[in-house]
Homo-oligomer: 210 residues x 2
């Protein structure tokens, strides 16, 4: 089984690394990081520099794809380039096509979400709807072979869901225990429906400004 | 405020990237990735290749350090090298000295945990105790300015705890909302006390073999 994590300049690190850390333990899986061009690419903060050896051309028929998000996806979805073309092409042959956070906008731009329930970062529901999707406030949304996950950290939940689907609950539970994923956030403000209203306004403002 | 994330070959990706994704949003913070040598280093799976520009010598007085884990830390703790020396040296001037997963073994090797409560990956309690620490089954353990976190994914909880300590609960809540950290694992098997016994045995066996 080949699992491709699709990268691009200015991706959000945890969107990709959360699923990576789960999926790398899948028995028999080949994890491939790929991007439009081989070479170095940096995350949205310009602090993390990753070397990627495989281009999208090198990965023509992955079994599973994971598309992380990043602020830049809004622009990438409006002006679709090679990554959107690749998503559309390989989706025809995937077993699972998945996204984390605003990676869903790239699935949308590829025409995969029209008429489907889907999720993304809570700040990008409107953009998601512009591709014909019905934005859904769930952590992981499954529609056939397409799985979309909520913002950033939701990629870990997505990946465990995917592993359970592919290999059964025992393998997913073993990986969860291996990465000691027994989350205990010190606050309960991880979703707009849970966070204090003034915190939601604050973060909305920061996102609109940034 | 300078926050240094200390890397080394064969580190565990999410141990470092979880805290990174939280701390990068701390107002006014400078995040520095550093390692013994500048250049490229790879994670424990040999699939993730990061370029690190700063050496430990370049970061002589960080305010906060985060030390991620990896299987290799057991050996690094028994045969202490430059990273352990650096941890010991900079700890004298830090505001917070922190670890994720078996990064705690490197704090232990630096002599920082003797007589203290501390935590690490659940599979490494014995090694942790060998440095005089009292292994504690909590997600994040604070002893003065030293914070240790449980395995791999616990770095996210550690970082939010740290942000709340440094900048108050509102900033931590805002960052939590920004990364939509509203965890909903599909199973409740993230700790040995919660996972089915046969899963715990399976993972123990795999860790002993690997």
């Amino acid at each position: 089984v080949q699992i491709a994590i699709a990268l691009y300049p200015e991706f959000t690190a945890l969107d990709a690394m959360g699923p990576y850390q789960v999926l790398v333990h899948v028995p028999g899986a080949e994890i491939v990081l790929c991007a439009e061009k081989a070479g170095e690419l940096s995350d949205e903060n310009g602090l993390l520099h990753l070397r990627v050896d495989r281009t999208f051309d090198d990965v023509p028929s992955p079994d599973v794809i994971v598309v992380p998000g990043g602020t830049v996806t809004r622009r990438m979805a409006r002006e679709p380039g090679r990554i959107v073309e690749w998503i559309r092409d390989v989706h025809a042959g995937t077993t699972y096509t998945t996204s984390v956070c605003t990676g869903a906008l790239l699935l949308g731009a590829a025409g995969l979400l029209d008429g489907l329930d889907a999720t993304t970062h809570w700040g990008a529901y409107d953009e998601l709807a512009s591709f014909g999707a019905r934005p859904t406030e769930q952590r992981v949304v499954r529609q056939g072979k397409i799985f979309t996950a909520a913002g950033v950290s939701a990629g870990i939940d997505l990946a465990l869901t995917l592993v359970a689907e592919m290999h059964g609950p025992e393998v997913a539970q073993a990986i969860q225990l291996g990465i000691e994923y027994d989350p205990q956030p010190p606050f309960d403000s991880g979703a707009p429906s849970k966070a204090p209203a003034e915190i939601v306004e604050l973060v909305r403002g920061l996102m609109a400004a940034g």
